[in-house]
């Protein structure tokens, strides 16, 4: 249950880092993202990587705070509570697939095939990489078209 809570918190923090208007709030959300990622690594047995992630995250965030203060200027308005709640709910909904797979998936049962065989002999690595590329391209095209439509730049002519 701790892993699922960390997963939901991680996605919410990532969403807040992107969607908050003020630079300082975005950097604070990015700090939460780094910290939760480090905790996830540590809980999965990769303590060495977790320590590295934490150290690098602290260094990056120190510089980001300085640059955010330097570039952002004064905070003129506090973020509206409705926007923050919308982003938090969206992040929690986005994290649901990973949480359901973690709770009810078959990741804990070891398949009879070894991992190396799955990746190389059955060409699973190729399929996963191709799927990632297709997914990223489709997502990008969809977002660009949506933004253009929202701004009224997209006009269908016959």
């Amino acid at each position: 249950m701790i892993l699922e809570t960390l997963t939901i918190g991680l996605v919410i923090a990532a969403c807040l880092a992107i969607f908050m208007d003020e630079a300082v709030y975005s950097v604070v959300s990015l700090a939460a993202t780094f910290f939760l990622t480090s905790a996830l690594y540590a809980m999965n047995g990769a303590v060495f990587v977790a320590v590295f992630q934490f150290a690098i995250g602290v260094g990056t965030l120190a510089v980001l705070f300085l640059s955010g203060e330097m570039l952002g200027g004064r905070m003129e308005k506090s973020p509206s509570r409705r926007n923050v709640l919308t982003v938090i709910v969206s992040g929690a909904v986005l994290a649901l697939p990973a949480v359901f797979l973690s709770l009810f998936g078959t990741s804990s049962s070891v398949p009879p095939i070894s991992f190396g065989e799955t990746l190389w002999n059955l060409r699973a690595a190729d399929v996963v990489l191709q799927g990632l590329v297709v997914f990223a391209v489709a997502l990008g095209i969809g977002i660009v078209l949506y933004e253009k439509k929202r701004k009224g730049e997209l006009q269908w002519t016959s």
Binding site: V27, T37, Y41, V49, L71, A136, L139
Partner: protein, 105 residues
């Protein structure tokens, strides 16, 4: 498998921020999120297979990520000093102006 989905979600959020946000700081944060997603995928596969060499290679990935962050932040500060803004659209507009002056005197 659940961590692959989680890293995919982080990748999607990062790509969305990279495509839609015009502030250079937000673009940098999006790049950091994409790098975190890729690293997470690698870490989880490494820890599930038990091959510790992968974690050693991850140190290389971390150092590359840090170098990229340093360069992007330096460029960000320079752009802010030169153009007075960190909005990509405004920077592009300011870069267009001298060319237009040359074309139509």
């Amino acid at each position: 498998m659940d961590f692959v989905i989680l890293s995919l979600i982080l990748l999607a959020i990062g790509i969305y921020g990279l495509l839609t946000k015009r502030e250079l700081l937000k673009v940098f944060i999006s790049v950091e999120l994409i790098a975190t997603a890729a690293t997470m995928n690698f870490v989880m596969l490494t820890s599930s297979t038990g091959i510790q060499v992968g974690e050693a290679f991850l140190v290389l990935a971390f150092s590359t990520d840090t170098a990229v962050s340093a360069v992007v932040l330096a460029l960000l500060v320079m752009a802010r000093k030169k153009y007075g803004t960190s909005d990509i659209g405004e920077i592009v507009e300011q870069k267009k102006e001298p060319d237009q002056r040359e074309v139509s005197p």
